[in-house]
Structure formats: C-alpha cells, structure tokens
Symmetry: C2
Subunit: 175 residues, 2 copies
C-alpha cells in the first residue's frame, strides 16, 4: 500500500480563515490578502499587529475549532481505504496546539486512528511515497513525490506539481 | 551527518520508576518485576489494578516529571554535536501527555530544539540511520540499523544488537 503524508494547516484545516475572522472582528481592518506571499501570512497584517497574530497562534484552543477544507473529509475517507495515510503537522513549535490538533482530527475525521497522526518540529525524518504540503521547507527534504497544496502564501512558487483542492486530489488518487 | 532516532519512554525517561513509586505508595503492594515481560509492564501489577495503571498513564501531568535515565543528558549532549538527533515518542495514544512530553524534554535536555521532537502514533514513517528503542514493534519497520535499548519488558528478546545504558551508547557513538 502506498504511503501518503498529508499536512494539516492550510491543507485539511484552515487556520488563515480562522485568524482572518478573528482579526477583522477585533480590529476592523481587512486582511490584505494580496500581500500574503513568500511562505508566510504576515504580509497580510499591519506590522504593528504581527506580535498579536503570533500570540493567537500560540494560545490554547486556537487550533481546536478550525474550519475544515472543502471536500477533505469525503475525499480522505476514500483515500484512507486505498492508501496508508499519515497526517503530519509541524506543530511542536506551538506546544499548546498539540492536544487541540489531536482532538480536532479525531472529531472531524473520525475514520482516522490516533496512530495516523504525527506532530513534529520539522519533517526531515518523514518517509513516504507522496507528500501533500503547502510549505516548500517540508517538501524539499522529502524523498518521495512532493505535491504542493496551493495556498495564498505559495502562489509564486514554481517547479512543483500542485493540488489546488481536494476534488483535484480525488482525481489524482482515486481514479 | 548521520541521523539517530531515539525513543523517549524507558530510553531517556523512566516512566516505570514513576509508576512503581506511585503504585507501591498507594497500594502497599510491591511491583512484581520478575513478571514484567513480553513488551508490557502489566505482568508486574495484579490484574485487578491494570485499569488503574492505565488511567495513570492517561492522566495529565504523569509524563511531566519523569526521572531521566542515568547519563542520558551528558551523553546525548555530545551526540547532539556529531549527529542529527530526533527524539521520537509514540505518544499520541495519550493526548494529555503531548505538551507534558514537550515541556519535559525542553527542561531536562535544554540543548535540544523543539524541532528535534516528534510525537507520533506508530513509527512506520520515521526514517534514519539508527533507531534506539525499547520496543520491537517500532524497530521492526525501521529501514536503518535498529538498536534495542534494554528494558525489563524486552529481556527475553533475541536477535537485536542491544544498548544496555547510556555509557554503552557513548562507547558506540562517541569513540
């Protein structure tokens, strides 16, 4: 069975939607989506609020109730029958997120076992046949086939095969 | 730089000492160490207390203050300069342990970065040159060189090269 390594944030979970909602409500300033690039969201927020945004990411509970990416639940349910799937999140930087991420995955993707979750710092030691991830820094070390999951912050990246949404993933993996 | 994958419980941390201390104080019954074998501690405890022992492992805080294995801090400090080290713990079964394990590692091994910690369910997707682990179920899937870290529960296991303590690890990796 082929092994697929799948990232969490901005691939199956939508932390940018959550933080943008919170930010726009709290500050009455629109997120500047046009300025999100180079692998980070920070360009979308005024510089004087970068520290606030970072604190939000470190707060307990932030990752517990993130929106799920469209079609991820249905498509991964089928993929989970045909592939060895691991959900691998570089979450250890945010120690308060660890249990939240476990609980979020078990609630929203109840067909996954806890054995399929990996919470790491970097992903250099992760091996598999495919890796679906929105960050170059993760894909670049991967020995299998890297697949860039499209996000605002990576729209300028060239040279990687892309998955733009979970319907495309279904076309690729469930034909 | 060669990559060494190192387990946490019963390799650098001593949860058995912690649980035995707690158990013997709470129940005034000695742990039956002679009966610990087959990859589990449970034989060391009367059957009517197995559920209690399991609940202790699931409780928040249990993994936060475990004793550190002798010489692990000093030997790993040197190994960390010569090898790419990851501390990989199959901890996701115990969601309350995740932050505790992060905090324990950062406190007791302050020279490690959070980037070097991996909290997973199983270890099938972990790649490296060496894996030091007390469980056969982890070593058996590993593509690099497996090294069995000796523990009471694995004393009957044959066919693996062993590390009996961190002084032996120093002889092997720091010559």
């Amino acid at each position: 069975m082929e092994r697929i390594i799948i990232d969490m944030d901005e691939v199956i979970a939508d932390p940018l939607a959550e933080i943008a909602n919170w930010y726009e409500r709290a500050h009455d300033i629109k997120v500047n989506y046009a300025n999100i690039k180079g692998g980070t969201w920070m360009g979308g927020f005024p510089e004087q609020h970068h520290q606030l945004v970072r604190e939000k990411l470190f707060a307990e509970g932030f990752f517990r109730n993130l929106p799920v990416m469209d079609d991820a639940v249905d498509v991964l349910k089928e993929m989970n029958k045909r592939y060895e799937i691991y959900i691998v999140s570089a979450a250890v930087e945010f120690p308060n997120s660890l249990k939240d991420k476990h609980d979020w995955l078990m609630e929203n993707f109840p067909y996954f076992s806890w054995k399929q979750l990996v919470l790491c710092g970097d992903k250099k030691m992760i091996a598999g046949d495919y890796m679906i991830d929105d960050h170059l820094k993760n894909l670049i070390h991967f020995k299998g086939k890297p697949l860039l999951y499209s996000a605002l912050h990576n729209r300028d990246v060239e040279g990687y095969e892309r998955i733009n949404n979970w319907k495309e993933a279904a076309t690729m993996f469930l034909k």
